[in-house]
């Protein structure tokens, strides 16, 4: 099956073109945009890990190594599209417009961390595995019924393909031919379980066959491959041709979460083939004359400032409001819940 689903690439590990088809479509603006977003989310990710170690954030799910997959796909979206992320896709949601401070808040156990800009349709991160795939199919279905050109993207990991919701989501999407892109980041592991123990199929892309939709396998560390292939899948969707399954082959560089210890279950043997997506883009930029030290420095400074300000904003955020425990469960609070709220507020001396 692997031969039917070759890993698509635009550039190789050393940053040279392997697929000339895209050469003309790549310009300075795109290159710098991809780089600056990837640099930005990596800085965020490393900061979050540090904050967690200092006890300033709760458990955090890092994505280092997956920047090209998340940025490349998120930049392929239109502003009115729908995004259904997991707990590891805040790189994608940051790229699509969610703020850093809000993203930090999420990891600090604040429900406000689920809020996204009013002009972006980003679902709160799915914590139960694979449950967001049917949602994406449904939101895309609604767009189709409404006759728009909007589409949806669902992010999910390799482990997610074992859950029933994965299959149900893909099946609905293909039966009703809805404009959705199922974007898998195959990062090698579902917590401790390597892909070979997760499934007996060699690729995730081949699972598309069962659902009669295109399946694409690409190098998830090649931001161009991710960007152009996701764009194609969206064009396919927007033209009324239905869903696509994309498998972006990448690598989870660090632990599953800050509460996990990967030395228990993995050797670094496999990591040696991994080429840092950011470094790869840097090499490309140097090879083809896009690299510019002064620009890089400005990106660094801007990002450092943004991250510091976001941390400050998170830490200065008003303390959580007890009433939020009760207020958003129903549109209109049932009387018995209202009584519980009233009694509790009296207990804590708020009324």
């Amino acid at each position: 099956m692997e031969q039917y689903y070759p890993v698509k690439r635009v550039i190789d590990d050393k940053g040279f073109f392997v697929d000339a088809e895209y050469e003309k479509q790549i310009d300075e603006q795109l290159v710098k945009k991809l780089y600056s977003h990837m640099y930005r989310i990596r800085t965020f990710d490393r900061k979050a890990i540090n904050l967690q170690r200092q006890g300033r954030l709760g458990t955090y799910a890092p994505f280092e190594g997956q920047e090209a997959a998340q940025v490349g796909s998120a930049l392929a979206l239109n502003d009115n599209d729908w995004v259904f992320p997991t707990y590891r896709d805040h790189g994608a949601t940051l790229t699509f417009g969610k703020s850093m401070a809000t993203t930090f808040l999420y990891w600090n156990g604040r429900v406000e961390g689920c809020l996204t800009p009013a002009d972006r349709q980003i679902f709160p991160p799915a914590v139960p595995i694979a449950t967001q795939l049917p949602h994406a199919a449904g939101a895309a279905w609604a767009e189709k019924k409404k006759g728009t050109k909007n589409a949806a993207i669902a992010y999910f990991g390799d482990g997610a393909t074992s859950e029933g919701d994965f299959h149900e989501g893909l099946n609905f999407a293909s039966v009703f031919k809805v404009p959705v892109v199922f974007f898998n980041q195959n990062n090698g592991y579902a917590i401790s379980v390597p892909i070979e123990k997760q499934m007996n199929s060699k690729t995730i892309a081949q699972k598309s066959v069962a659902y009669g939709m295109p399946g694409i396998r690409l190098d998830g560390n090649d931001c161009f491959a991710v960007y152009f292939e996701t764009k194609k899948a969206f064009n396919h969707a927007r033209s009324g041709n239905g869903p696509t399954l994309i498998e972006a082959v990448t690598w989870r560089k660090g632990a599953h979460t800050t509460a996990d210890d990967p030395s228990k279950y993995r050797t670094e043997e496999r990591a040696k083939d991994f080429v840092d997506p950011l470094l790869r883009l840097e090499l490309f930029m140097k090879n083809y004359g896009y690299w510019d030290d002064a620009w890089m420095q400005s990106i660094q400074e801007k990002t450092t400032r943004e991250v510091e300000e976001a941390v400050e904003e998170m830490e200065k955020f008003p303390p959580p409001n007890v009433e939020d425990v009760f207020d958003h469960v129903y549109a209109e609070m049932p009387a018995q819940l209202a009584k519980q709220k009233e009694a509790y507020l009296a207990h804590v001396g708020r009324k």
């Binding site: 600090n108 156990g109 914590v127 859950e163 029933g164 917590i191 959580p320 519980q340 804590v348």
Partner: protein, 338 residues
């Protein structure tokens, strides 16, 4: 009330263990003793479980008996049914109770009723272990306490140990039980204390509660992580001259109505403490048991100190969801001064 089948010199045969170590110990013993035992779940093999409940077991017993499964709760429970009806004794780990819902259908429609549907021709002697509960600053959905969904499921037994000793004894009893048993493990108690646990095999009878503190004025009824909340509340009440008796239910189905009735007849008042949501919570069944068995002894309506009818909040607010000793003391005073 607890049944220790083995009686040896304490110093030789008991070891200080945390609740999670006691659980590990129970599984190790049963893997050694009974070839039919298989342990399966997500990350339980090489990783030894995200809480280390199965630490070292795959190394000791091999990948055929301690099995890392694909990420699929319905698959884990569904295949465990097949294993159980066909000669094995599966112990399935669900990583967190909040992730059991994909398997809910398998548990509700098959695990719990295969015996009935086949008139005992097929049975599913299997165990499902699931850590549950709030208060450890876990990410959202990791903190559910939805035991009522499972006590409302005829054919299934539900146990919920609060101490290392009970955890080992109940888990072994569950593994030897001819019927399916859900073992709810309070995450908050996993490492909160150590106690002497016999090294050998013993069981704690399913369906029996435990008197953890004697008192005369009011009965506190709790299980899992709420037992220590009850204990703290009892200490605070004691300073006010109130004497609390505490019952740890240990089994949530079938429930030990005798221990409840006996205690309430003595104290004449009751406060039930559970972290699960208020409406539809097990507290309601306990009130019915008291009505049925000790109604004329009651001197005050029974109080319930529970979680609210809201999803367990994100961890920055979870302390406001969970019953606290202060809320329990308020309840105690209310029943005393009725």
């Amino acid at each position: 009330m607890t049944q220790v089948k083995e009686t040896h010199q304490k110093s030789e045969t008991a070891k200080q263990m945390t609740l999670i170590q006691a659980i590990n110990d129970a599984m190790r013993l049963m893997l050694e003793e009974d070839d039919r035992t298989v342990i399966l779940g997500e990350d339980i093999g090489k990783n030894g479980g995200v809480f280390r409940a199965t630490e070292g077991l795959q190394e000791a017993f091999g990948e055929d008996r301690v099995i890392d499964t694909p990420l699929s709760e319905a698959g884990i429970i569904g295949t465990s049914i097949g294993l159980a009806v066909n000669g094995f004794r599966p112990v399935a780990e669900i990583q967190f109770l909040g992730f059991i819902y994909p398997a809910y259908e398998q548990i509700m429609t098959h695990v719990s009723r295969i015996r009935m549907r086949s008139m005992s021709r097929f049975t599913v002697p299997m165990v499902i272990r699931a850590p549950y509960g709030a208060g450890i600053r876990a990410p959202e959905i990791h903190s559910d306490s939805t035991e009522s969904l499972f006590t409302h499921m005829p054919g299934l037994k539900v146990v919920c140990p609060s101490s290392p000793y009970d955890a080992k004894g109940l888990l072994i009893a569950a593994m030897e039980d001819p019927d399916p048993v859900l073992v709810l493990e309070p995450m908050k108690n996993y490492r909160s204390k150590r106690e002497e646990v016999p090294v050998g095999k013993y069981t704690v009878e399913i369906g029996k509660g435990k008197l953890v503190r004697e008192g005369t004025d009011v009965t506190l009824i709790a299980w899992g992580a709420m037992v220590s909340i009850a204990e703290k509340a009892a200490e605070q009440a004691e300073k006010k001259g109130i004497s609390c008796e505490i019952i740890d239910l240990r089994t949530l189905y079938p429930i030990d109505s005798e221990i409840i009735a006996e205690s309430v007849k003595k104290t004449t008042r009751a406060v039930i403490i559970h972290e699960a949501h208020h409406t539809g919570g097990l507290g309601n069944d306990i009130i019915s048991i008291i009505n049925d068995t000790a109604f004329l002894y009651l001197r005050a309506p029974i109080e319930r100190i529970t979680g609210f009818d809201v999803p367990v909040p994100f961890f920055s607010l979870e302390e406001h969801y969970l019953p606290t000793p202060a809320r329990v003391v308020e309840g105690i005073e209310k029943v005393l001064h009725f």
